[in-house]
């Protein structure tokens, strides 16, 4: 009989913090830039250079830790993790081992099978390494220290996850929290969020944990899901064959959809951790924590609840609107300007997301002023412009952030409401389309739409379609009476 297995998963997630300067020097953290231009003696490991802690990093880490319901260690300490690699200019990484800034928290996740808490073991601050570039052409390796010293937090979970779906839900939740806190943009593809998966399997019903492996190089949610399933199957297969799982670090190759062993526990490095004598213990005052607690933002869940209650929006709509803090912010501000939350939501979910998708834009790249959309919504509401034109104007707002009322005037898009003018246009159309008129009178309702369209065209689209309809109907029906 085939045994039933349970998968036990814990995660180590690195999140790049979005401070303007690096963790131990004043260099810029900006992405890109010519190699080794965002560097100084400190982040290139020059002899005699010393680290100075960026207080913003502590603040961001604390905000993250508080959002993860963690306890805070005060004081916390920095330790040196010693290992030789050229991307690591000092050949030690400044990290936290003995007294990390945060510990013992949790996050609540929701999957198809319900809600669940994932416990956080600890969260610590550390510095990122530089980047090695292997130049095949000249057969040499080059190193770029722009990334060296970029602040990171590492969030270590307890082995509380059981499925890939839970892992993805956990990561999405972390990402949402970090984005709402504005401490990180958490892009897996760009490496501002990196996840290592610790996985073991055990027979269902047993209590002892099996031997785990650590999986690295997971660059997307899809890759994570595939890697978890693959590794689970691999381990079960080993156990079924009566073989042992070896404790090791493995690297996932998403193209080939398999992993290979990088190093086993036996050749695990001894990092010779010890407290960094160049840095002082970090004392975190209770008042500061209190201030940070009070100033936590409204997170996605709270917003969803409020939007449904306050604005009467659907569950589906609020899910879309809160997918990014930026989007939610645009929505809220637009609502503030026009006072019409439903219309604002429609414009956000409909046109805004459509255009963003068309252009392959991230939500964060959407940059129009909510006041302009708010104005447009009001103009539409007053019937000063028809829907078709409104969409055109919105595209201009979306791409160029134009001022809608001015633009509408300049481009003659104001709906013509002058009955005389409209009547004249309708007369002309009736005269030019005798065949269609005839068909209409014979009962072909379809041709009515055609005649409306023709009238709109002569008005260059700027007529109020409702009025056109009304006048056309009047005229056609009246004539019909005479005949």
């Amino acid at each position: 009989m085939k045994k039933e297995y349970e998968t036990i998963i814990g995660l180590e997630v690195h999140v790049e913090l979005a401070t303007k300067t690096k963790i131990f020097c004043g260099c810029s953290t900006k992405f890109g830039g010519e190699p080794n231009t965002h560097t100084c003696p400190v982040c290139t490991g020059m002899p005699g250079a010393l680290p100075v802690l960026n207080k913003k990093v502590v603040e961001y880490a604390l905000r993250a830790g508080l959002a993860l319901h963690c306890e805070v260690n005060s004081p916390c300490l920095f330790d040196r993790k010693n290992y030789f690699y050229p991307d690591n200019p000092q050949n030690y990484q400044i990290s936290q081992l003995y007294l990390p800034i945060c510990h013992d928290g949790y996050v609540e996740i929701e999957t198809a099978s319900g809600k669940k808490n994932i416990r956080i073991h600890e969260m610590h601050m550390e510095e990122d390494a530089g980047k090695l570039v292997h130049d095949e052409w000249s057969d040499c390796s080059l190193v770029d220290y722009n990334r060296s010293g970029i602040p990171l937090i590492e969030i270590v979970s307890e082995p509380d996850m059981r499925t890939a779906a839970e892992v993805v839900a956990y990561l999405e939740k972390l990402r949402s929290i970090m984005q709402y806190l504005e401490v990180s943009d958490c892009k897996l593809q760009e490496g501002s969020m990196r996840a290592d998966v610790n996985l073991s399997v055990r027979e269902k019903g047993t209590l002892n944990l099996g031997t785990r492996t650590e999986m690295k190089n997971l660059n997307s949610f899809k890759a994570i899901t595939r890697a978890i399933e693959n590794e689970r199957d691999r381990q079960i297969e080993l156990l079924e064959e009566g073989k042992a799982v070896i404790q090791e670090t493995r690297r996932w190759d998403d193209n080939k959809e398999y992993s290979y062993a990088m190093r086993s526990k036996e050749d695990a490095k001894d990092y010779r951790y010890f407290p960094d004598p160049d840095l002082m213990p970090v004392n975190i005052e209770e008042e500061w924590l209190e201030f940070l607690r009070k100033n936590q933002p409204e997170f996605a869940e709270e917003k969803r609840e409020r939007y449904q209650k306050e604005f009467g929006l659907s569950k589906y709509d609020v899910l879309l609107l809160t997918e990014s803090r930026h989007l939610a912010k645009l929505f809220e501000e637009t609502t503030k300007f026009c006072g019409m939350p439903k219309q604002a939501a429609n414009w956000m979910i409909g046109e805004t997301l459509r255009l963003a998708k068309e252009r392959g834009m991230e939500y964060e790249e959407i940059h129009f002023s909510p006041q302009h959309l708010g104005d447009l919504i009001r103009i539409v509401q007053k019937g000063e412009i028809n829907n078709r034109n409104a969409k055109k104007v919105f595209e201009k707002i979306f791409y160029e952030d134009i001022e809608p009322s001015l633009y509408i005037k300049e481009h003659g898009m104001v709906s013509v409401k002058d009955t005389k003018k409209l009547a004249q246009a309708v007369e002309e159309i009736i005269a030019q389309n005798s065949k269609a008129v005839e068909e209409y009178r014979e009962g072909k309702q379809k041709t009515f739409g055609f005649l409306v369209g023709q009238t709109m065209r002569t008005m260059h689209g700027n007529a109020d379609p409702e009025m056109v309809r009304e006048i056309l109907k009047q005229k056609l029906d009246r004539r019909a009476d005479f005949s």
């Binding site: 020059m46 002899p47 160049d278």
Partner: protein, 483 residues
């Protein structure tokens, strides 16, 4: 008056008052260097003529314009070669950094230059400041100017020899376990290690980060105070730097020792101490008593634990501090290697000398997993207790008095044969580094072989002024007796 007999402050005064030109003072030193270097080997680099001429002109103009008004304006100075300078290489007396020119200036160098100092050269030392004789230099041993058959002490042997021989008027050294005080004693000059955190370590190539302090080496006590005033100060680039209340080290230096409570640790006078040095300490105590101080002998606990604690902590930190010397970014790289690992191995094997390798190995060992608690943590605990012993002493005494070294300068070539004996020679100096205390070595007569004897005067943290007062009193007492 011959420049040969002048102190730094006397030269400074002559320069300010226009009796000696900056160029003449520099010229005098250059001549001494030319004459004495073949024998002494106190310098690793001497400033290029062109650069020197430029600096002399700059300083002369600055003095005229009133930019440089301090006591050291225009006075030639030598700097230990583990302190980073942009105009001259900074080698740490190691093949590893033979051609290394720092891209930035150490904070102390910046302070010296802001005071109008003319840096004429970089002094020889034990490689990476590891040694007590200045014989571990990759560029040959330094000789003691008082007797060239003997070592000048170390690791700041070059700085002390240069001041003693008249090659410069004062110098900077660094003290991790006695590296300023011990060679000062051997070379008949005054040298001071300030309270840890008083002088910025930014730009000092680290050996034992928790102990390293830069300090003055000069011909008398007043010079030391004046130099300390110039180089001390809070620096935010060094997180271990302290914001002190007191920086006016010259103030009250001549106010005598009336009523000062001076303690002499009995353990410092026990077996293993050269008889003439013991007598010198006792004689100094008598003289101080005559000047109104209260003298008391007392027992200082835990002295036997200082050497092992110090070497464990210093070597552990050194093993990590010296990891950055890997041949990747700067400094020595082996000529032939197959791959990365071999490049590291060969570069470090060929670039570092024996003593450095020995301490890296010792340090790596005590930090490795399984030994960290047993060695490193235990040493840190011992350190805390040693500090408490001093706290007890300073509840009773303002100043402590004792020897600097167990013997006067040993002959060349003896010490390295028995490194353990050499390490034990640091018995009187190391406790101050462990506890962060300030201390001074004051020349106090000679032994039967005409080799200089040093007195160690030390006090609680931030009490440099008491040390200077005591030292000045003793210095005057000696001068009166000589007359």
């Amino acid at each position: 008056m011959d420049m040969r007999d002048m102190t730094a402050m006397e030269i400074g005064k002559e320069i300010r008052e226009g009796r000696i030109r900056v160029g003449e003072a520099v010229e005098f030193c250059m001549k001494q260097i030319e004459e004495k270097e073949p024998k002494l080997n106190a310098f690793i680099s001497v400033c290029e003529k062109e650069r020197l001429q430029k600096r002399i002109a700059e300083v002369e103009q600055g003095i005229k314009d009133g930019v440089y008004q301090g006591g050291l304006a225009g006075v030639p100075v030598a700097v230990k070669d583990n302190i980073c300078t942009v105009h001259m290489p900074t080698t740490c007396a190691s093949r590893m950094l033979e051609h290394f020119v720092s891209p930035y200036q150490a904070e102390v160098v910046r302070r010296l230059e802001n005071a109008g100092a003319v840096i004429i050269g970089k002094t020889n030392m034990d490689e990476f400041a590891m040694g007590s004789t200045s014989e571990t230099s990759a560029f040959g041993p330094v000789k003691n100017p008082c007797n060239p058959e003997h070592v000048p002490g170390g690791s700041s042997g070059g700085s002390c020899a240069a001041v003693s021989s008249g090659e410069c008027f004062y110098a900077l050294g660094s003290d991790t376990g006695g590296s300023i005080r011990q060679p000062s004693a051997y070379c008949n000059v005054a040298g001071m290690k300030p309270t840890y955190g008083t002088v910025s370590r930014y730009g000092l190539i680290a050996y034992g980060s928790s102990f390293d302090q830069i300090g003055p080496i000069a011909r008398n006590v007043e010079d030391c105070a004046c130099i300390l005033e110039t180089i001390a100060g809070y620096d935010r680039k060094d997180s271990t730097c302290v914001k002190r209340d007191v920086y006016d080290f010259m103030d009250g230096i001549k106010s005598g020792v009336e009523g000062l409570r001076i303690g002499i640790p009995e353990e410092y006078l026990k077996e293993g101490l050269q008889k003439e040095i013991r007598e010198a300490v006792k004689k100094a105590a008598e003289w101080l008593k005559e000047c109104g101080a209260k003298i008391e002998y007392f027992s200082l606990g835990l002295t036997e634990y200082t050497i092992p604690s110090y070497y464990l902590i210093a070597c552990a930190q050194a093993s990590s501090n010296l990891e950055r010397f890997d041949g990747v970014k700067y400094g020595f790289r082996a000529k032939e290697y197959e791959e990365l690992h071999e490049m590291y191995k060969k570069s470090r094997s060929e670039g570092f000398g024996m003593e450095v390798k020995q301490r890296i190995l010792l340090g790596s060992f005590v930090l490795s997993s399984g030994y960290y608690d047993a060695y490193y943590l235990k040493a840190l605990r011992a350190r805390t207790q040693i500090k408490q012993e001093f706290d007890k002493a300073f509840a009773k005494y303002d100043v402590l008095l004792g020897p600097v070294t167990p013997t006067t300068a040993p002959p060349l070539g003896e010490s390295l044969k028995d490194p353990l004996a050499m390490y034990l020679g640091d018995i009187y100096t190391v406790p101050l580094n462990l506890a962060g205390l300030p201390g001074m070595s004051l020349p106090f007569g000679v032994d039967g072989k005409n080799l200089p004897i040093g007195l160690q005067i030390f006090a609680d943290c931030f009490q440099e002024k008491k040390i200077l007062r005591t030292a000045y009193t003793l210095e005057r007492a000696q001068q009166r007796r000589e007359q």
